[in-house]
């Protein structure tokens, strides 16, 4: 067998050719994935403040972060953000998809305009909203002023700021769930719906018994992708509260630990912690998605 491989004239097998094409990807993946992970795991057991030499302190960093209320608060807030944003994106997205699921003139223009929030950067999105919600001269507050509504503390109160940021995020991502669901609605088998109508099923019933179950895989895909990006909420905070006023998310907390306090040990411990959580969540969601796809 070995001889065959080394004979120069013998053409490569399909399998070898396949590996050859993947090799660069594997190489970059190995370096860029293994290096930080291994490094983070090792450093998470040391005390290191970006200068000098790291000292081994065992599991102290993990003990610290697991007993830190700021960490749990930021984690809880991230969880709340994930749930609220996804629920609103799904419900409003479904309503919008049902609205758009009919033939009307100018569909292309409407689609194009609705896609705009999706493609602008989250940082620009947060800056736009802090401008138009500005307390003194933001356009939203000017318009609300016409109706004698004043001084809504969009970003300046602990009870409101985090919801404002969630609202911004929903604004940006609502078109995504809308158009994924719309794609699903357009692909629904018509005969089944006609049959349901003939059977005298109400449209409410048809929606829950037929539409939602058929769209389940798409709903799962939306949830999976949105969870994965929402648990890493960072950019929208930068242009608004910078993690202040009870808005700090988990990633902002990690950033603050690593790049404001320069605590590499605790920062990497948080990174490892975050990796474990991410893997757990993505595993659960992924197997759910596969189940939903198989049932179809």
């Amino acid at each position: 067998m070995k001889n065959k491989k080394t004979t120069p004239k013998k053409p490569m097998s399909d399998k070898q050719f396949g590996w050859l094409l993947i090799a660069p990807l594997c190489f970059v993946l190995a370096v860029f994935m293994l290096y930080p992970t291994v490094y983070a795991v090792v450093m998470s057991f040391t005390k290191y403040l970006m200068k000098g030499t790291p000292t081994w302190i065992g599991a102290d960093n993990y003990r610290y972060i697991l007993h830190n209320s700021e960490m749990w608060n930021s984690l809880g807030r991230t969880g709340l953000t994930v749930i609220i944003c996804i629920v609103f994106e799904l419900v409003l997205g479904m309503l919008l998809a049902l609205l758009l699921n009919r033939d009307f003139r100018g569909q292309g223009i409407v689609r194009g305009l609705c896609f705009m929030p999706l493609l602008i950067s989250p940082l620009a999105m947060s800056l736009i909203w802090s401008y138009i919600l500005n307390n003194q001269y933001g356009i939203v507050n000017i318009i609300l002023g016409w109706f004698n509504i004043y001084n809504i503390p969009w970003f300046s109160s602990v009870s409101m700021a985090k919801y404002t940021i969630m609202g911004m995020t929903i604004w940006q991502w609502l078109p995504f769930s809308t158009f994924v669901l719309l794609a699903g609605l357009k692909g629904l088998p018509k005969d089944q719906f006609e049959a349901a109508q003939v059977d005298g099923s109400s449209s409410w019933n048809t929606f829950w018994r037929l539409t939602v179950p058929t769209l389940k895989p798409l709903i799962m895909i939306i949830v999976l992708l949105r969870v994965m990006s929402l648990i890493r909420t960072y950019d929208p905070l930068y242009g608004t509260t910078r993690g202040g006023l009870g808005t700090e998310t988990f990633d902002w907390y990690v950033y603050r630990m690593g790049f404001v306090k320069y605590d590499v040990g605790r920062g990497t411990a948080l990174g490892v912690f975050s990796l474990v959580i991410t893997l757990l969540i993505s595993n659960v969601l992924y197997s759910q998605l596969m189940k939903a796809l198989k049932k179809r």
Binding site: F17, M33, Y39, S282
Partner: protein, 273 residues
């Protein structure tokens, strides 16, 4: 043309539709309006103003915004080229030969789920030691890593759609494997490659977290320049809006002209919208 009958239902439909669309569009439209306002006009509560280009002049003379713009163009274009060089062969191989079963493909996509924060500190320290902080190469390397799994996965979907029979036919005609890729597969996959390229460009163009941590002066990206306006004690909304207008233009153009592919791109190829 048949004249459509007036119905209240349709009126309500259009009112709702127009409100929804303006909710999405108005904030972005307002940035474009603000870019042409003086700072005094921005800070007044009256809506009337006389347009001016002083913000753009300020941006390109005092702030030297052409430097971060050029940086972002260099970084996005070079990193996208590298991503495509790695991802096109890999995606094709996954689609046609799948040498490792599907395990490696899922490992690839799972790197997209890797929390960025776990990479941030190790790479920051590594780049510091290698003098790669605040260089174009450093940030390009980060973007190559973060975008290649997405690009591979998205293109995999396009390659799988190409019927294998076409390739078998070419093989019978005596084409070599490389010839098949060059002359048969590549032309057929062109739309997919184009879409993937555009999405990779947009991701790098919009990226902020790593640009903010890894670049400062020399390789400063547009997103970082934007964030600096916000950091100032007196926020210069006018200049910020002007820079945002320029930075958003390419992505808004994509929204309008490539709408057919946006859902597919954003869902990593999972939904062919």
């Amino acid at each position: 043309m048949k004249k459509k009958k007036f119905s209240w239902k349709r009126v309500v439909f259009w009112i709702v539709l127009i409100s929804v669309v303006s909710l999405f569009v108005f904030p972005i439209f307002w940035v474009y309006v603000t870019a042409f306002k003086t700072n005094a006009a921005i800070r007044s509560t009256s809506l009337a103003f006389t347009p001016t280009i002083e913000n753009f002049v300020f941006l390109f003379t005092t702030r030297n915004a052409q430097v971060p713009l050029l940086n972002t163009i260099i970084i996005s274009v070079v990193s996208t080229l590298l991503v495509m060089l790695i991802s096109i062969p890999a995606a094709y191989s996954f689609a046609r030969y799948s040498p490792s079963g599907n395990t490696l493909l899922f490992t690839t996509i799972s790197t997209r789920m890797f929390p960025g924060v776990i990479a941030a500190i190790p790479f920051f320290l590594l780049f510091r030691d290698l003098n790669l902080l605040d260089t174009h190469i450093g940030i390009i390397l980060m973007y190559v890593y973060f975008n290649m799994s997405f690009a591979t996965f998205l293109m995999y979907g396009f390659f799988v759609d190409i019927p294998e029979q076409v390739e078998y036919a070419a093989m019978v005609d005596g084409y070599s494997r490389l010839d098949i890729i060059r002359k048969i597969v590549f032309p057929l996959a062109k739309p997919g490659i184009a879409i993937t390229t555009i999405f990779t460009l947009i991701w790098s163009w919009n990226e902020f977290f790593f640009a903010f941590l890894f670049t400062g002066k020399v390789a400063k990206a547009v997103s970082v320049e934007l964030s600096l306006f916000w950091g100032a004690t007196q926020i210069q909304w006018g200049a910020m809006a002007a820079l945002m207008c320029i930075a958003m233009l390419p992505t808004l153009a994509v929204a309008i002209f490539l709408q057919k592919y946006i859902v597919r791109g954003l869902s990593f190829g999972a939904v062919k919208g």
